[in-house]
């Protein structure tokens, strides 16, 4: 049986559907109408995966572990691993002590003043769309923070440095990574200030400057720190080093900064509650 080519009425329906698709793309990208649906879907997928794992794989794993009598040892190892990851983040904060707090007294005073229990909250990675991270501009991760407060706007770090900031908080917290194309962060090196935008490429953010305004040229390997001017990120933390430098036109130079921290290195993070 041969197929009949679309009639005029069907063609009209095609055009209508395409126009509606364009409207949906616009409303999703610009107006963010479908964010809740997508978050709900991701939550359902994660919960289903968890339930299926708990109902199918975990009982067998548990039986196997019980049979060889190593279950307690494994749990102990997991606990130790979590503590170790936590200590890595603590070490990072201690090594950057002067940038966060002057001394122990200041920490105590700061916590009392703001009614906080912890210097930072521990968080675990729950979902990382690695395909999207490699291919596209949207670089996000979902984390579970061990704390019952609202963490929107809070800074997320790992053992190497800053990872990003929390932009959505439901059952899971959505983190906007530094490399996301929508992320902008004020950074500084000496007297050179710049707003670094996420490049959409893993591990790279980009900056551009006017040659007439900056007296000194940037050089490959130059270190850039957080300036603290956005009011979100702490000041003077090493963000990365200059990679590639490009001359956009005679006045404007653009350069890449290779970040020192990456969300791929660990699945445990620290979250600073923003005040």
């Amino acid at each position: 049986m041969s197929r009949v080519a679309p009639t005029l009425g069907t063609k009209f329906l095609y055009v209508l559907c395409i126009l509606f698709s364009i409207f949906l793309i616009y409303s999703d990208l610009k107006l963010k109408w479908f964010g809740d649906i997508k978050n709900f879907y991701q939550s359902v997928i994660i919960s289903t995966k968890y339930v299926i794992e708990t109902a199918t794989i975990k009982p067998f794993t548990y039986l196997y572990q019980t049979s060889i009598d190593k279950n307690e040892l494994i749990n102990e190892n997991k606990k130790l691993k979590l503590e170790l990851d936590k200590s890595y983040i603590s070490n990072f904060i201690i090594s950057q002590d002067s940038k966060f707090f002057a001394d122990d007294e200041t920490i105590k005073f700061f916590l009392d003043l703001n009614n906080l229990k912890e210097v930072f909250y521990l968080a675990k990675l729950k979902y990382f769309d690695y395909e999207m991270y490699l291919c596209c501009n949207k670089h996000r991760i979902l984390i579970e923070v061990f704390g019952d407060e609202n963490f929107i706007g809070s800074v997320v770090i790992n053992k190497d440095g800053i990872i990003g900031q929390i932009i959505n908080a439901n059952s899971l917290n959505e983190v906007l990574l530094l490399t996301d194309a929508n992320h902008v962060m004020p950074i500084v090196s000496g007297n050179q200030f710049c707003n670094a935008r996420g490049s959409g490429k893993p591990g790279i953010i980009t900056c551009s400057y006017n040659n007439k305004l900056w007296l000194n040229q940037v050089f490959i390997g130059q270190e850039f720190l957080s300036s603290g001017m956005g009011g979100i990120y702490p000041k003077d933390l090493l963000i990365g080093r200059v990679g590639e430098i490009r001359q956009v036109d005679e006045n404007v130079t653009e350069f890449d900064i290779n970040l020192i921290s990456s969300p791929e290195t660990t699945n445990v993070f620290g979250v600073f509650k923003i005040l």
Partner: protein
């Protein structure tokens, strides 16, 4: 007459999307993008012996948008376009050789990848990715077509 089992089709599309997500990070290092979900959808529409309603393509595209975390409407629009092309030229395809059809689907994959990158990855739009993906996908189609024609069969089918 072939019947389209919607539930089965939805499950196949879901699994193909999972496979696509799993394979994509490895292929990206070679500047290759393999839109497996799109191919499976196109293949099913191509092999189906009746015209598909555009609303069906639209809803299927929305479903793919949801499971692949793409902006709503992106796959919906592209699925409608490929359905229109296949429905319009379904009879003409019978006159083409399988090499021509493989090249056509290779080109449609480039259109799909290019349009998708224009919407969600404009800053890193890469012609190299498009070119290599075109060559890779066309070769893959050719291999699959050859495999289908020349693989030894147990039963002899008389058309």
């Amino acid at each position: 007459m072939k019947k389209l089992n919607i539930i089965k089709f939805l499950i196949i599309i879901f699994i193909s999307n999972l496979v696509e997500s799993f394979v994509a990070p490895y292929l990206f290092s070679f500047y290759v993008s393999l839109p497996l979900t799109f191919f499976i959808y196109s293949a099913v529409i191509y092999n189906f012996n009746r015209n598909i309603n555009p609303i069906f393509s639209f809803l299927f595209g929305l479903y793919v948008d949801l499971i692949s975390a793409n902006p709503f409407g992106l796959n919906a629009g592209l699925f409608i376009i490929i359905t229109y092309v296949i429905n319009s030229y379904a009879n003409a395809f019978k006159l083409y050789s399988f090499i021509q059809i493989c090249i056509l689907f290779g080109m449609s994959s480039v259109f799909y990848i290019g349009f998708k990158n224009l919407i969600i990855n404009l800053e890193n739009f890469s012609y190299l990715l498009l070119l290599i993906s075109f060559l890779f996908n066309t070769s893959l189609f050719l291999l699959l077509a050859l495999f289908r024609h020349y693989f030894p069969k147990i039963l002899i089918k008389y058309d």
